[in-house]
Symmetry: C2
Subunit: 115 residues, 2 copies
């Protein structure tokens, strides 16, 4: 059997990427806004450190999965907005599929969570 990319050791990284790609997928976002939306949508459960978020965004952009463009806003303020590329959409779909596999296998081993 082919070993999944979403094994436990790489889990953190792929989960972060999936969260980011999913939120960007709902419309153009800049980094700071993205972190806030993640926190709001999860009732504070998830939260990116900025020192974690920005390097991941840079990496995703370098890999061609998202496209960033600076936008002048106000007289001096600039924000960098990101959107998914076609490759990014494919990548997100593959991560979702991997996630399903992970969840199924993981759940089978850890058992049910009845109280």
């Amino acid at each position: 059997m082919q070993r999944a990319i979403l094994t436990v050791p790489t889990l953190t990284r792929y989960c972060n990427e999936l969260l980011i790609l999913s939120i960007i997928g709902t419309g153009k976002k800049h980094g700071y806004d993205l972190a806030r939306e993640l926190e709001e949508q999860s009732d504070g459960f998830f939260g990116f450190n900025h020192g974690t978020l920005y390097p991941i965004l840079h990496k995703l952009e370098k890999d061609g999965l998202i496209r960033g463009s600076w936008k002048q806003e106000g007289p001096r303020r600039k924000r960098k907005y990101y959107s998914l590329t076609a490759e990014g959409k494919k990548y997100r779909a593959s991560l979702l599929q991997q996630w399903e596999g992970f969840f199924t296998h993981f759940r089978a081993i850890i058992g049910e969570t009845a109280p």
Copy 2:
């Protein structure tokens, strides 16, 4: 809201612990056997490197979550068998609960996986 311990950054570690505690929970196991069972039960999806597994077992033992005891087997062969302590059972239950919370929030953000 109280921040969960099973956030994305700590996910890998807690997943590994949960897998280990779950398999040990089904009966006394030694390390090598544990790795094999994990691989078999997940159809090869999961697999521990030995360099990862043994340090985790030592840490869990040091923290009083599992108890290890050497057992003479054959004339010269020794194996170290592990079993869950009462504290380990509680810890596993808390990890399971955290996992549920994680999954619910994560799924809400990444959306459905329809093809």
